[in-house]
Every structure is written in C-alpha cells, then in structure tokens.
C-alpha cells in the first residue's frame, strides 16, 4: 500500500498506517513527526525527510528511510528496527529499551542517550559514519557501535565529538578506532577490543553491511575500542551519599 503524504499532517499519516498492515510505503514525506509511533507488525518505507521522533515507542515495526531523518529517531523504542539510508539528527535512540537502529551515515549529538536494557531486551544502535558530542550520554544498557566509515568518499575527521560516555553506567560502546584522540570520563574504561568483544558485535555489523551493501570483513578488520562503565556504581557519592 502506498500513500503520498505531501500535504498530510502526522495524525492523518499515522491513522492511515494503523489501518494498514503488511508493507506500507510513504512518499513525499516532509517533516511529519511521530511517524509509526508505537506500531508493530508492519514494514514501512519512507521516501523523503520524516520529522522528529520517527518510530517513537516503536513496538516491532520495521521502518526504512530513503533519505535523512531528523531528531529523536526511535525515542523510547521498545522493539523493531529502524534503518536510515542517510544521516540522522540529535538524540537518536533516546531512552531506547529494545530493537535496533541502523544509520548508514552520521548521527548528531547525544546518540544513544540513556539507552537501557533489561533481561532479553537489549537495544542496539549502529552508526556507519561519525557521531557528534555526548555519544552514549547516561547510557544504562544496550550496545552502541560507531564505525566511522567514509561518507560520500570523504574520510570522517573524528569518529566522535567531545564528551562521549558522560554519565555512562551500563551497556557497551564499540568505536572503530584506536581512540587515541578521544578523551573519556574517568568513570569508564576504554580498552582495545579483543576477539571475544568483536564476536559480540559481528552479528550487528553483518546486518549493517547487508542493509547498506558493504564488506563485513573489511569493516571488522580494524582496531576497535570497547567502552564500559567502571563498576556497578561509578557515580557513588557524586550526588548523594549512597
């Protein structure tokens, strides 16, 4: 089913999506926010530029964007997958607690802010290009992978901006770099990834490569840095004596 959404507001777009399952195509999308919020059991492809909070509270649907996405992609997402064949704005995966986000290009500030995990719910975000500052801010769980692959033939100058992992207290982050030029807060440990670490992300990298058509071996054949919080309570006594 296909819908030209050029002159529609987000309510109409979401009402139409709720009435249809299976494969849904939205064309001429321009800034409509909250697309597919809370939805499950359908495949949605979007041509154009969806607005903020694409796939917020997503609960199993599979969204593909042929273009860029704006801020807060996958806000509080619970399950499903969001694939963006372009770049995304700030605060992607905000408080995401399940599902997967794949971005071919770059992410803005605060990607993966306050991602969390619980038992079998482990959110995953893979960014193909570079990320802005405050990557993984307050990360509490889940896996963030940043590949730093060249975009449009241009090598990325730096895989992540300033202050990554600020307030991180759970989960794992993998950066495809030796991280020599990156400063981490003292509450986290950044070390070269070993075989066992890389085995954890191979599946995600494979999925990224199959989605965007690149070579898994050459992506994996590079130094990676893995970042984890230092202990169960790295911020002990930072705010209150507990």
């Amino acid at each position: 089913m296909k819908l030209d959404v050029r002159n529609l507001g987000y309510r109409e777009v979401n009402e139409w999506l709720r009435e249809h399952d299976g494969v849904c195509e939205l064309s001429e999308c321009l800034g409509q926010r909250f697309i597919a919020a809370g939805m499950s059991d359908r495949e949605i492809t979007i041509e154009g530029t969806p607005g903020n909070a694409l796939g917020a509270y997503l609960n199993g649907a599979d969204i593909t964007v042929h273009g860029n996405a704006q801020d807060a992609v996958g806000d509080t997402m619970n399950a499903g997958r969001i694939t963006v064949h372009g770049n995304i704005g700030d605060a992607a995966g905000y408080a995401m607690r399940g599902g997967r986000i794949f971005v071919r290009g770059n992410a803005g500030y605060r990607a993966g802010i306050h991602m969390k995990a619980y038992r079998d719910k482990v959110p995953v975000m893979v960014i193909g290009g570079a990320c802005g500052s405050f990557l993984g801010e307050y990360q509490a769980g889940g896996v963030i992978v940043v590949l730093g692959l060249p975009q449009d033939g241009q090598k990325t100058s730096r895989i992540v901006g300033n202050f990554p992992c600020t307030g991180m207290h759970g989960g794992k982050m993998f950066l495809r770099t030796d991280a020599a030029d990156i400063t981490f807060p003292w509450q986290v440990t950044a070390r070269p990834a070993e075989e066992a670490d890389l085995a954890e992300i191979r599946e995600y990298v494979r999925e990224y490569c199959s989605l965007f058509g690149c070579d898994e071996e050459s992506v994996m054949n590079s130094p990676f840095t893995v970042v984890t919080p230092d202990s169960r309570n790295p911020y002990k006594q930072l705010y209150v004596a507990n």
Binding site: L30, G31, Q70, N87, D90, G108, Y109, G132, S133, F134
Partner: protein, 366 residues
Amino acid sequence: MAGMREGEIRIPSGCAIAAVISREGKKMTGEAIMESMKPMHDRSNGLGGGFAGYGIYPEYKDYYALHLFFDCRDTRKECEAFLKESFEVVKGELIPTRKIPEITDEPIIWRYFVTPLRSVLADLQLDEKEFVARTVMKINTEMKGAYVFSSGKNMGTFKAVGFPEDVGRFYCLDEYEGYSWTAHGRYPTNTPGWWGGAHPFTLLDYSVVHNGEISSYDANRRFIEMFGYKCNLQTDTEVITYILDYLLRVQGLTLTEAANVIAAPFWSTIEGKQDAYEKQKLQYLRTVFPSLLITGPFSIVLGFDGGLMALNDRLKLRSMVVGEKDDKVFIASEEAAIRVMEPEVTNIWAPSGGEPVIVKVREGAY
C-alpha cells in the same frame, strides 16, 4: 477546548527558526521563508511569529526604518512629535497589512524613515547609531503604549501574535524583496505572548530569532543593563540581542569572537587546544566577559547588514541544520524546512555546539 483542564492536554512544541541568504545579494520575496515555517507548524503554538528581511527598503537605504506599535492615535501623535525633535522624518506611513481571520487585535502599526539631525548629534557628541539605539531604548522604556520593534537601515522586522505563516501573509511579505530573511515561530515559555514579544528582536540592523530558553538571563541582564540597555520584556531573546549589539558594535568584536563569548567552550576544551594563540584568545574572552556567557539551550540566527550568523549553545541543546544551493545558504531548526525552500539542497549538515556559521553577502552586492 471546553472542559479541558490544564494537564489534560499536552501540546508538544518548541520554537522554530529558519533563514535564507543569497551570497550574491540576489533578491527573494518573502514567500519561500513563509513556506519554510509550514512543516514546523507544530513547533509554535500561535502566540508569536515574525520575520526579518534585509535589503527590503532600497529606496530609503540611507534612512533608519523605525517600525512601531502604538496602542492609540494619541500615542502615535505624541511619539511623532518626540521623533521630530531630533530626527528628520522623510516618510511616515501605516505598514500595509491584510485583514485575515487568523490575526486579530492588532495595534496601530507604522513605519518611519528617519535620520538624526546633525545638530543634535553634534550637541550630544554621539555617533548616529548610538543615538538611534538610545532613542529606541527611551521610547520603549518611557513612552507607554509605543514600542519600536525594528530600527535598522534597509531592513525591517515584521511580527505579531499568531502562527508565523499567517503573520507573513498579514504583513504581505510576498510583496517585499530582500537578499536575506529570517523567521521565527514562537512557543512562549516564561511570558504571555504579545506582539512586541514575538521574534525577531532587533536593535539597529541586528535581529535575533531564537529557539530555546536560556538559564543565564538574569546574570546577563544585570551586566548588560550597566551599559544603558533596558530589558523591558523579561524575555531571553531581548537580552541576547543587546549582548550581541554590545559585543559587535560597541566593543568591536568580530562575529566569531562574539560567538566565543556567548557560547564559550568549556575550560577543559580550551585547555586541550593545540594552537597557542587560539587558546590564549579563548581564555582572554572568557575572562573579560564572564557575565556574557549564555547558558541553557539556544539556537539563534543573527541577522545583520550584509549577512547572517547561526549559533547553537555549546552543549547543543537545540537542533539546527544548514544547507546550500548555488548562491544560497539555508538554516533551520529542521531539515524539512530547508527542503521546502529548496528541494535540491546540497551539503546538509548540523553545526556543532558553539560553532558559529557565518554567511556574508559578497562585498558590493547588497
């Protein structure tokens, strides 16, 4: 909304800003910038919208274009008499507006093209711009019922209570042509929305549209009021405008230096700078102007004679996207707004927090 109580309905919002400029000084009507606000409609709540256009008054380009709101005819007469004491007024007229159902309760809206009398300037030993700025402050502070909302040369601000796309139609912006435009859709957080409080805020040719809510308002206000500025409206954008006027016009800082004052890098970031001169300069600016550091979320576009500067707070707590196409540069809170103005836009990117984006029209082209 009958029967709705506070807390039962939430309107998700956040201000919207947009701008476009031609580096070649090519003229554009206000239509594109008005269109750009449509996909961002939900970022405003109808309590304020406005635009600034540069290069729109070529026939009066040597005169200050004062745009004023008046509450009644008597106030206007009184204000005109006051202006004529120290200015040559070459033209005074109603600003043309369209009656549309979306915009109501308008004040009396006039514009005057003026130049300060040489004898008055000589007497006061003031330069022209300083005298005009002081006059604006005097009217806005002392003359009840009169408010100057635009005071630059060959530029003008148009603002009202309403959604921005309606405000643009109300002021007939499709009939103006400028080389640069900025726009704002408002979602007021701390003050009730009224006509004067809509954006852009201006002083002389500086205009500011702002998305955000700064937390340093009072510290900034106390400092800037020591230099003759009067913050009449208790809104944070007013103080940002005066800070920029002070740093750029009065102190003579460059745009980048002013950006490094208001969105100063963290001391730890400065400490890590490799370039010794840059490091020393950043330390100097933070040390000399600590009270002009603006904290809290903001993304702004500063319009000025011949250019624009876009800037995010150093933590980048608000979104901002920039794109280009041929001679034009586009700036907006959302990429969708840029794509409305130019579907074939290239080089879409998001500047980092505290990284000013400065676009100037080629010298001689405006």
